[in-house]
Structure formats: C-alpha cells, structure tokens
Amino acid sequence: MADQGGSQHGIARTSRVRSEEQKQRDLQRIQKYRELEDQVRSHVSRADYSPQLFQLTSKLLRLNPEYYTLWNVRRRCLISGLFSRPSAGSSCSTACSSTFPTATTTQSSTSCSSSSSATTPPAPGSPTAGRSGTTAEPGAAGAPSGTFASDDPAQAPAADSTDSATAAAAAAAAEQQDLATIQSELSFTIPLLLESPKCYWIWSYRQWILAQAIARLRPHVARQVWEAELGLASKMLGKDRRNFHAWGYRRHVVTQLESAALRGASMVEAEFEYTYRMIQTDLSNFSAWHSRSKLIPRLLDERGADDAARRAFLDKELNQIREALNVGPEDQSLWYYHQFLMLNLVDPDKHPAMTRGIAAGDRAAYLAREIDEIKELLEDYPDVKLIYEALFEYTLYLCQLEDRQPTADERADLAAWLAKLKELDPMRNGRWADLERECGL
C-alpha cells in the first residue's frame, strides 16, 4: 500500500544504541502517552463522547497526528454533542449538503451512543449514503446535558408564529455554535499541518470539518469559512511547492467554492493566474504546469473562445514554454508541458482545446516550426539529452500527422539523434534499443 506516514524519510542513520538516560526519557514519554491513550479508550468503551474525551484527543493528536482512530473519536465527539442538533427547516438542509461529494458521515444515530460501538464501530454504509446524516438523536447516551444542546427548542416543530420566532432564534444560536466549533477545529489542525504537511489524516479531517460547514451553516456563512481555505492552500504551497496534498486540497476547495452549495461561480481564471504565478516563482514546478494543462480546456470554453482565440492562446503558451526551455533545457517539467502542447497538435481529438480549429496542414507546420526551434537549442546545448529526445519524438509525430514514413533526411536525423541519446543517456538503453527497432533505424 502507498505511504501512510510513519515511515522514516530523510532522517540520518544514527547508532541505535541508546544511553541509559535516553532510555529513561523514552520510558517516561511512553508512560505519559499510554496513560492518555488508556483514558481515551476508557471513555470510548463507555461510549462517553464527552468534552473531556474531546480534550484528550487534542492532547494525544498533538503528540501523534497519524493516529487515525483519534480523529474518528473526535468526529464522534462533535456529532454527539459539540455540534448543534440539526432541525427541520434549519440551514442544514439535505439539498445543500447533497452537493458535496465527500461529505460522508454514515454514522447512524445509534452508532454514536450504543455501548457496542466502543470496540466495534458500526458497519459503514456506502460512503455516499446519508450525506447529511450527521445527526445525533436527542437523548443519545454519549451526550451529557448542560454543555449540549439537547434541549434545543428548535427540535420542536413550529406550531405558530411565536414558536417559529423561537425556532428562528434557536437556529441562529445553533449556527453560531457550529460556526465557532468549525473555526476552532480548523485552527486546531493548522499547527499540526505545518508540522506534518504530508499527513493524510489531518487533511482528510479538515475536509470533513469543511463539509460540516456546508451541511450546517447557511451558504453565505459557509462560504466565508471555505474562502479562508484558499489562503491555507497557498500558504502550504508556499512552503512546499510540490506538496500534492496541498494541490489536491486546493482543487477540492476551488471545486466547492465554485459549487451551487456555496452560491459559487467559476474560478478558472483566478486559478489559471495562480499557476502562472507559481511558474514565475519556479519554472521547474511541474505541479503548476500540470494544473495549467487541466485548466486550459475549461478556461477557453468559459471565455467562449473562438478558433482564432484558441490558436492565439496556443501561440502564447508555446512562446512561454520556449522561453523557459531556452534557459532550462535540462528541466523535465518544461519538456512535459511542451509535450502536452505538441499532443494538442498531433492528437486534437483527445486534446481539442487549443487546436480544434487548426487544419491538419497547419498543425504540421506548427510541429515543423517547433522542431526547427528545438534544433536551434542544440547550438547552445549540444549535450542535453532531453533535446534529442524531443526532436526524435516530434519528428515521428510530424510523420504521423502527415500520414507518411520519414524521409531519407529525417531517417538520418533520427539515427543521429538516437546515437546521441545512447551516448548521453545509457541508463535508458533498453528504451533506445526498442525505438531503434520499431523505427527500423
């Protein structure tokens, strides 16, 4: 299975022999850790999802954010009491929550309160079922009175106007309570994320909390919560430009901010601009180039771009990547994006966004020009293998596009480039040999 954390990355190997002092210190830490853990398990075994248990999870998660079960206990504490009880007619409508694909809490009401849930969590239902099922029945065993809103008058159906005014006030209070809880949870995870930016469980918990905002708050209130998340994604990407958790989180946040549930509109222009800024900071950031490749089709559609506008867009992208390659021809990230642009030319059925209106002959002319430009790179960089690889590949693309075999001159070029590839990049000789055979060189 893939990395779940807990493995050692980049930590220098030291002697595994500990001094007596270190051993004692370890034993003390173990004792403290296990005491906390025992307390958590004691509460859980009684299905006592109380504020005390909630606070214990805070302590233990700060020591070990990889402890996924604790994040689940924390969720159960929130559902069992710290969140308000959703009521009919409150802002927590199934309509708004059902547009959120990962808001999945399939806990049935009994699952949080029955004593059997302590050691045996309920069988989960389909993760898409019960999206708004973050309910805890009134009187749930895990909910002590006092701190919890079990006497919330909003639970009662509104019978007349006085009652409905009371219900509205209760709904407003409930929303305040939930907003405060959500914001507190978001704050709690930030230092943990900064310390463990690749911990899946923290990111996933944060997404769950945000889903609660959609399920529990009115859209404009929830939207404010979500909007702040873009800042977090940018902050995390500022610290590690390639962190795929943070990129994924950013995509998720944008998708939600664009959704009807948050009264959103397209953010494709702003996100495209963001990739540009990231690339300006670091040309080698393939994550940003990748993101660009994914945004372009939507961007052009939403701009209502006609064929000429699309072609102009392609020209601009080509100029940009060519300039980058002029200074960094050894950078794989740049060549991958260049390949993406070439694929638009050679396979417009699959990648039509920029090239749908360009006739086959013109597309071939584009490719030929690109090949010439890349040949010029060789004058300054005669020993960069990626240049030869691009020349080889694009020449084959050109033949494919023109539905012909390579000319004698092209064959000579291909053979020469391949010889250079073998010389510069013997690690991949197996691949060069396959290409040689396939092309009959």
């Binding site: 299975m1 893939a2 990395d3 779940q4 807990g6 050692q8 990355h9 220098a12 190997r13 051993k23 370890d26 173990i30 296990r34 853990e37 070990n64 990889e66 402890y67 996924y68 079960t69 994040w71 689940n72 969720r75 694909p101 990962t102 808001a103 999945t104 809490t105 050691t119 045996t120 969590p121 309920p122 069988a123 989960p124 239902g125 389909s126 993760p127 898409t128 899946y200 996933s204 997404q207 769950w208 390639r242 795929f244 080698s284 393939f286 990748h290 490749s293 950078d331 794989q332 990230s333 991958y336 390949q339 993406f340 990648h351 013997p426 690690m427 991949r428 000789n429 691949r431 396959d434």
Partner: protein, 328 residues
Amino acid sequence: MSENFKQLPEELQLATSAHVKYIQSLDTRKDEYDYWLTEHLRLNGLYWGLTSLHLLGHPDALPRAETIDFVLSCQHESGGFGAAPGHDAHMLSTVSAVQILAMVDAFDELESRGKGKAQVGKYIASLQNRQTGTFAGDEWGEEDTRFLYGAFNALSLLGLLHLVDVDKAVNHIAACANFDGGYGVSPGAESHAGQIFTCVAALTIAGRQDLVDKERLGRWLSERQIAGGGLNGRPEKKEDVCYSWWVLSSLEMIGKTHWIDKDQLIAFILRCQDPERGGISDRPGDMVDVWHTVFGLAGLSLLRYPGLEPVDEVYCMPKSTTARVLGR
C-alpha cells in the same frame, strides 16, 4: 545481475540474516517511544515484515499461530480490520489483514475464528462510491485510488471481486489518467508513481490493461531513474527506495522493466541497507524502517537479484502465494 550470489562483490551483497533479525526485532521494541507512536500501522507493519521475510526465504521467521491470532484480534463486527486492537476499521489495515492471511494460508481460520470472508468482502464493498466507482478508506469518506486498488487487491484474493462495480471503478481510474500517461490520486491530480502503481495494478486485476497508454507511461516511468541509479516518484524530485517498488512494478506490469538500468538500481537499493543491524532506508545513510525494507527487497526481487523469492508485481506478495490463492 545474475550468476552466483557468492561471486558478487561485498558492496553488492544482501545482508539477508541482518534483515531477518531486524524484522524479528520489530515487535520487541516496546521500550521505544516510536513503537507506540506507530501502533496505527501495526497490521500494515506486519504485512511489510512478513512479505520481507517471505522474499528473503524465511517465511517462518515469525510465529504463524501468533500472527493469525493478532490479525484476527484486529477484526471488527463489520468485517473490517483496524490497525491493532482498539483502532477503527480501515481499508488499509483490512487489505493488510487479507494479504497476511493469504501468505500464511489461513483463510480457513478467518472462517472458523474470524467474521468470515463474506463479511470482509461486504465491508470492503460498502466503501465503494456507487456514483463514481472509487473507494473510501473508511466510513468518513476520504477517497483515493490507493483505496480502490486495496479493494481490488483484497477482494480478488478473497474471490469476491463480484461484490463491487468493477466497470465503474475502471472508469474512475480512466478519469484519473493524465496526458503524460500517468495517474493521480483523483481526477485532475498530478501523476505520481505511487498512484500509478495503484491504478495500473487495479486495471491489471480487472483485466483492463488495454486502457493504459504503455508507451507514454513507460517513458514517464523510465525517466524516474536519476543519476545514482535510484528512482524518484515525480519529475524533479529526489530518489527514494520506496519508488523502487512503485515505479518498477508498474514498468514490470507493462513489460518495460528493461527501460531502466537495473544494475544501477540494484546497487542503489543495496547502498541503502544497514548491513550490520539490518533494514533498508529511503536513501543511503538514513534511518531504516520496515516500509522501505519491504519495498527495497520487493524491488530487488523484481530485478531478479539472486537468492530472493519472486515477488508478484501486482500484489506485492510472494508469487508462490498469489499462485496458490488465485489458482494460477
């Protein structure tokens, strides 16, 4: 790399007995803080350790009865397994449980003393998103192609793949494909060697390798090998032993292992060993752990390093196990 194990120069010797001892020592380190901090990975760790021992040719170096007892002690009523007693059920630990039971040939004990195969299958199937076809890790809904692969891995070992919508899952994987031939965590996500392994292996289990752009993917994967012989997981990133598995197994599945320099990769993995105290690390000179140990050894096995048991490139288990369980 071939001929006789004994004829290899010293720096290319695998420290087999040190590795076996290292793995055997893992469950005796209860006076170390890290032992407790990693309890949420215990069942995964047992799978990594046991697989390592099988590949090293010492399948009996951990006691079988205790192994089975421990695995069954992690099972919940739902059929799912947690990482250890007291930990919630999760796809990742459930898959490890099934793989361990497969390796020690104990599915019968799952029937007689555990909740039974059918209940495990039901748990896993309940985590499929019936709209998109992908899978969640647990009831809280985190979705990732890792979980989809895990589901296919475990269900196929149990003979219960029919419990899920395979076609829909396959469509989801296809939606995760990128122009570079690779796959990401979810649709729209950047290609990543770990996710490529999960997607290509899931497609292989489903018999749908026809969806893979083998030329383009093979090229991307082969470019993961960098100076020094190690493999990275994405362009312009550092090398790491665990990618000896994710990249190499993917190359093996699409028949392009010869597109990288195998000898250099073998030498890189061996440089990451701790020859005295056992274990393999991410890079030379770093701390070892059982996770890098298994993926280093599995990589060496795929590279036909002498003396290692053959590994199944789809399941990351001994081929002898998958041959027995899958009847092939």
